[in-house]
């Protein structure tokens, strides 16, 4: 069945093939053996077996089928050897039956798609938020523990313990491997979308010197959201999130300067924006909004789309953006939304109007760097340079990293130079 090895595949090629289908394989194994840890262990065994056989015989015609068949046999072995044999006797009988069928038909198994249940289990709110992220990347995305640890600047042992603990909780607390019922759907979907967006944001926040893996988190989040969108095509917030990530990511080449310092939207070189990503993102968010139930991700994507379509900073639909922020605030009554609204307002109605709107949110954001940065900018544009310099100092003092500080210091210097 295997094609003769014209050239033996390298380890990383085999790992890449496995990773492509990892989530689908794990999900169908979990359904069969009823246990996250066991499913993963068996698939890991199958992968090791693939490394031995494929490097010798070449890659088989149906690699995922091969992996599933092998993993099932590994499961039969593992269950047979285990202390809890009786508890798994039903699963064992089913595995034996499936394997006999394959042998009788000389066929590779079909892989049913159970990934939707898997996404909801990995992102279950009964798990710690960071564990949801780690479990999603490991189980659904097929990243290794070491890759996840590096992506999140964490120690590998700590990440491994986190994953083990999450799997134990799923087993012992009986977190179901199921798509949630309608009464829980919207809360549970929020948790899934939140996890995917956090993965994306972690990659987006990666700075120049960081490991390639950190930057890849953006693509991984987009890949996972694309899968979710395909599994659940009628869900406008899924489309909204995917659109939002595509549109943010379209500015990847323009948003960090050669010195590693972030470039403000108004100063970005727009011809560096990825036009294909913009077209895809806009098509998605338009399709989502036509369904008539806007949510926070769709609205943020719509805002991002207006920026993406604008030929220049001045020719941006600022008024439309202000209205979208109003709508977003009704979904997410959060002062940061008001701050972003104020920025848009400063371009549609002037810095004075923006300063007045800041007054209303003054209390909640005193320790928030972007608040003082925005205020400094409004003051500068309103000609109140003296106050603007003080606001820049406040923002610089609150900066969490070197790049933000450099960015603000540049701005302050420009103002001083007049």
């Amino acid at each position: 069945m295997a094609t003769p090895p014209a050239s033996a595949p390298a380890r990383h090629e085999i790992a890449a093939i496995a990773r492509q289908d990892w989530g689908r394989l794990v999900a169908s194994l979990i359904r069969l053996v009823g246990d996250f840890q066991l499913a993963e262990d068996c698939l890991q065994d199958a992968l090791e077996s693939a490394l031995r056989h494929w490097t010798r015989d070449g890659i088989p015609a149906n690699p995922p089928g091969w992996l599933l068949q092998t993993a099932r046999r590994k499961a039969i072995d593992r269950i047979r050897r285990s202390r809890n044999f009786e508890r798994k006797s039903e699963e064992y009988a089913r595995l034996i039956e499936l394997d006999h069928d394959d042998q009788a038909n000389h066929s590779m198994p079909e892989i049913p798609d159970e990934r939707l249940a898997l996404i909801f289990t990995c992102c279950h709110p009964a798990l710690d938020p960071k564990s949801r992220i780690a479990l999603t990347l490991r189980t659904l995305g097929g990243l290794t523990t070491s890759e996840i640890a590096r992506s999140f600047l964490d120690r590998e042992t700590a990440m491994a313990q986190r994953l083990v603990r999450a799997q134990r909780k799923i087993r012992e607390a009986a977190i179901p491997f199921a798509v949630p019922e309608p009464s829980q759907w919207s809360d549970r979907l929020q948790s899934v979308l939140g996890v995917l967006y956090l993965i994306f944001s972690e990659g987006y926040a990666a700075s120049e010197g960081d490991d390639r893996l950190r930057h890849d988190l953006c693509n991984e989040a987009i890949r996972l959201a694309t899968i979710l969108d395909r599994l659940k095509p009628d869900e406008p917030e899924v489309e909204g999130l995917l659109a939002l990530m595509l549109l943010h990511n379209s500015r990847k080449a323009a948003r960090i300067g050669r010195d590693g310092v972030p470039v403000a939207l108004e100063d970005q070189q727009r011809d560096l924006w990825d036009q294909q990503a913009i077209i895809n993102g806009i098509a998605l968010v338009s399709r989502a909004l036509r369904k008539g139930s806007p949510g926070p991700y769709q609205l943020q994507a719509a805002i991002s789309a207006i920026h993406a379509e604008a030929p220049s900073h001045d020719e941006t639909g600022w008024q439309e953006i202000v209205l979208l922020y109003d709508q977003l605030y009704s979904h997410q009554p959060n002062p940061v939304v008001l701050l972003n609204r104020a920025v848009a307002l400063s371009y549609s109605s002037g810095a004075g109007a923006a300063l007045a709107s800041l007054e209303e949110i003054d209390d909640n954001l005193q320790d928030y760097q972007p608040y003082h940065a925005a205020r400094a900018d409004f003051l500068a544009r309103a000609g109140r340079s003296h106050e603007a310099l003080a606001a820049y100092d406040k923002a610089i003092g609150l900066s969490q990293n070197r790049h933000d500080r450099l960015f603000l210091e540049n701005r302050k210097r420009k103002l001083q130079a007049g």
């Binding site: 279950h124 009964a126 009986a174 977190i175 179901p176 199921a178 949630p180 019922e181 829980q184």
Partner: protein, 119 residues
């Protein structure tokens, strides 16, 4: 799968006896009892007297030491529990969300360990 729902609250926040809020609160517990029983998930459940009449004991070197009150001083104290039989955590969460104290206190859901093979 058996779960215990441990009900914690700050007594100061509980509705006072004799008020309409108290009647509503008790009605909420009555609804819980009836629903759990009708759905066949109820294995047991009790309310507890307050922690200030609790006694904590420890056995050290074969000697029983007893102390007045709860072992740790916290604002939220254990006030009662339900023992429920549910197929999975989502079901247990759904039933536990009906507990009226969850609106101002908290309910900790813990799976019961099967130690029958160990004892």
């Amino acid at each position: 799968m058996k779960y215990i729902a441990l009900i914690y609250s700050n007594q100061a926040l509980e509705p006072k006896y004799g008020t309409p809020e108290f009647a509503e609160y008790m009605q909420g517990y009555k609804t819980c009892n009836e629903t759990y029983a009708a759905d066949g998930v109820l294995l047991g459940g009790e309310a507890l007297r307050s922690a200030d009449v609790a006694t904590t004991i420890r056995v050290r070197n074969g000697k029983t030491e007893s102390m007045d009150g709860p072992f740790v001083e916290t604002k939220e104290q254990l006030g009662g529990y339900y023992l429920l039989d549910c197929p999975d955590l989502d079901t247990a969460i759904r039933y536990a969300s009906m507990i009226p104290t969850a609106k101002f206190g908290s309910v900790e859901i813990r799976p019961i360990a099967d130690v029958s093979g160990l004892v």
